[in-house]
Amino acid sequence: MAIEWKTDAEEALAQARASGKPLLLDFTAAPA
């Protein structure tokens, strides 16, 4: 199953706070 990448940092931070999961930020110059 493919990873559902978020693109909004604030939305991701809110989800991380709610779920207690850490965030993984991937900085790329060549997104898939």
Binding site: E4, W5, K6, A12, K21, P22, L23, L24, D26, T28
Partner: protein, 140 residues
Amino acid sequence: MIRGHFVPVRFDVKKRPEAFERFGARWTPTVLLLDSSGAERHRIEGFLPAPDFAAQLLLGLGHAAFSAGKFAEAQRRFGEVLEKYPETEAAAEAQYWKGVSRYKETGDGSALGETAQAFQTRYTDTSWAKKASVWAAPRA
């Protein structure tokens, strides 16, 4: 591993240079692991083959747990690096922090001595072995 353990965010630096600057990224690829409060706990700069990358992610989970004071979980994560990816560069760091996590959880100083001892047979030629050497029992 990414789907199950992290909230994943991807920034294309060409389209989102402000995100690059906000989080202090300097190069691509860069992967930052932040705890759920948004504090950076681990940074991976440059490409890594899959096993090394997976080991670094586990290392990051360990550091996030350690910073949250979850020392038993941190020990487990660092132990996973050693079990699953013993040949990667992450393993020596995991061996060090596994010992520190055990000490922080139990308050038992022998955890550090045993870690120093472990570095005498495994990952001997690493900076982590040097860091752990201060815990070694003095020779008679």
